[in-house]
């Protein structure tokens, strides 16, 4: 059980964005999706979310093919946080979190169990330690607070799979660490696209390394984050150290990028 990707391929106008990506991610694990810009990370997340349809191959969640689910059914099981999303109208934090209840509304006008949705939304805010923000206007929040609220919105969807596209973008170090710590504490199966290899090493159980639409490596951080693979994919020289508190690798980059990267 968990997420099974079986030879997923996707192309736009004949350009291959993803080719034959297969992986198996157990329930409850946090997976880091790594790779240079344009490697296909966001596309893979959109395919797994069921928003885009793969040209070939399938993605399955707990044995159910995601592409075969009606959109609303998929949204009850999978939540996606996109990069840098911002609403077009002034919304309060609670209103943003309540959006996560939309896939669960039953009647056409939305269910009349408004109080029930409210309880779930407030719980979700509490989960990410943002209860105090409930009545604030979204636009007055800091980047870290906005991401936290977005995670609460996703959790209000009560998903069994959480997808995050570069959730630490534009956040300061302390906000990055607390956000990823939060994702781990949720205990939900998560896949997140990340740029920072050290954050991936510290917070992920499993790493998928993509390059130009192909899956180059899959395994634990220690297995995937090697000087050879990092050099081949990112074209940078690095050393792998042991974290002083043990447990996960630390990547120390050589001062300048290796020359001759395509």
């Amino acid at each position: 059980m968990g997420v099974d990707l079986d030879r997923l391929s996707f192309s736009i106008d004949g350009t291959h964005i993803l080719q034959n990506v297969s992986a198996s991610l157990p329930t409850g694990t946090v997976t880091g999706l790594l790779g240079p810009n344009g490697a296909g990370k966001s596309t893979l997340l959109r395919l797994v979310a069921g928003i885009d349809t793969a040209d070939a191959g399938t993605a399955a969640l707990d044995g159910t093919t995601i592409g075969a689910l009606p959109r609303r059914e998929a949204a009850r099981r999978i939540a996606l946080l996109e990069q840098n999303a911002s609403p077009s109208v002034d919304l309060t934090v609670l209103e943003v979190v309540l959006l996560g209840r939309i896939p669960h509304r039953t009647s056409l006008m939305g269910s009349f169990s408004g109080d029930h949705d409210r309880v779930i939304a407030l719980d979700a805010l509490a989960m990410v330690g943002a209860s105090a923000l409930a009545d604030r206007s979204w636009h007055t929040l800091s980047g870290g607070q906005q991401q936290r609220v977005q995670i609460a919105r996703a959790m209000a969807q009560q998903p069994s799979l959480l997808l995050l596209d570069e959730p630490t973008n534009h956040l300061d170090v302390s906000a990055q660490l607390s956000l990823l710590g939060q994702v781990r504490e949720l205990g939900v199966t998560a896949i997140m696209a990340l740029h920072d290899l050290n954050l991936a090493a510290a917070y992920c159980d499993h790493i998928l390394l993509l390059d130009a639409g192909r899956l180059v490596a899959s395994g634990t951080p220690a297995e995937v984050l090697t000087p050879e693979l990092i050099g081949a994919v990112y074209g940078v020289e690095c050393f792998i150290l042991d974290h002083p508190r043990g447990g996960h690798p630390v990547i120390a980059y050589a001062a300048a990028a290796a020359e001759g990267r395509p």
């Binding site: 979310a49 999303a85 077009s88 109208v89 919304l91 209103e95 959006l99 939309i102 056409l108 006008m109």
Partner: protein, 316 residues
């Protein structure tokens, strides 16, 4: 109450009496002249103004949400202009086509034209949409005027003014029926989509991840707006600014949630246009202004305030 205001003095009791009489409810008989002023002239006009106001405000609210464009409005994006071309083709040229259907087709074509001009690299920014809408609206305005001049019957200038600026002066019970059916039928469909409109707050990807079939929903809703706008323009010409400013004003009261916003914006749009039309026919009594002049005089300052006050990121 707006029915009582006008060149001839009519009391509220007489209005009630006239309405009751026509509905077959026993009441104090009303003088025939007063009765025909109320029943034939003023009542259809006030009802048409209310329905058109509701329809335009609702259209604006839906367009702003579905395109995530705070400047979206059937008038600014050229739909009203397109609908006018369709409507005058039927009214003036006598093309054998149902009036509301022709206006709907005009609105739909204008909408498609505006959005395809504004789309560059798969995205539409609010500013590009408004510029494209401006071009389409100008073209449609020219086409409307040309058709009226070409046909050259009656008072062309007045006719052109009424279509381009909008007026409910000629409203009949037929107008009430067209606008009423459109507002009730299309409006109900839109109200039932309130939750889906909420889901668009963070954009298409977010709406899709909340379980919305984005493309189908967007085109259904925009098609509904074209239908609604077509019907409104068919009875009143192109009245501006109602669809643009009312959603912004009402959001301040109702909040951004569409389940409260949509009904409230309809009611406020109706009140707004009834008041504007009452001003239009009384300010220069006995001469009448096209009501679009009033809505522009009220709407533009409010619009400027909105531009100045809104945080810039909402317009990017």
């Amino acid at each position: 109450m707006a029915v009582t205001i006008g060149p001839a003095a009519v009391s509220l009791a007489q209005v009630a009496g006239s309405i009751a009489g026509h509905l077959g409810i026993p009441a104090e008989p009303v003088p025939i002249l007063v009765d025909s002023i109320v029943w034939q002239l003023r009542l259809p006009r006030v009802l048409t103004a209310a329905l058109v106001g509701a329809g335009l405000a609702l259209s604006g609210a839906v367009m702003q949400s579905v395109t995530r464009n705070p400047l979206a409005d059937p008038y600014l994006l050229g739909l009203s202009g397109g609908a006018s071309v369709g409507a005058v083709s039927v009214v003036i040229l006598g093309i054998g086509f149902a009036l509301p259907a022709a206006a709907f087709l005009g609105a739909l074509l204008a909408l498609i034209a505006t959005l395809s001009i504004a789309r560059v690299g798969g995205t539409i920014t609010p500013v590009r949409a408004v510029l494209a809408g401006l071009a389409i609206a100008q073209l449609a305005g020219a086409a409307t005027s040309f058709i009226i001049f070409w046909a050259a019957k009656g008072d062309s200038y007045r006719e052109i003014l009424n279509w381009l600026l909008g007026s409910v002066a000629g409203a009949t019970w037929n107008s009430v029926a067209i606008a009423g059916v459109a507002v009730v039928v299309v409006g109900t469909g839109i109200l039932l989509s309130a939750t889906r409109l909420d889901a668009f707050a963070f954009g298409d990807t977010s709406a899709a991840s909340l379980g919305i079939n984005v493309n189908r929903t967007r085109w259904l809703l925009l098609g509904s707006v074209a239908l609604l706008t077509g019907a409104m323009v068919a009875v009143s010409g192109a009245i501006g600014f109602v669809g643009l400013i009312l959603p912004h004003l009402v959001r301040g009261i109702s909040g951004p949630g569409h389940r409260r916003l949509l009904p409230l914006v309809s009611v406020c749009g109706a009140l707004f246009l009834v008041i504007a039309d009452t001003l239009a026919r009384t300010v220069f009594d006995p001469r009448e202004l096209p009501v679009g002049i009033i809505t522009a005089f009220i709407g533009v300052p409010v619009f400027i305030l909105l531009i100045k006050r809104k945080k810039s990121h909402l317009w990017a």
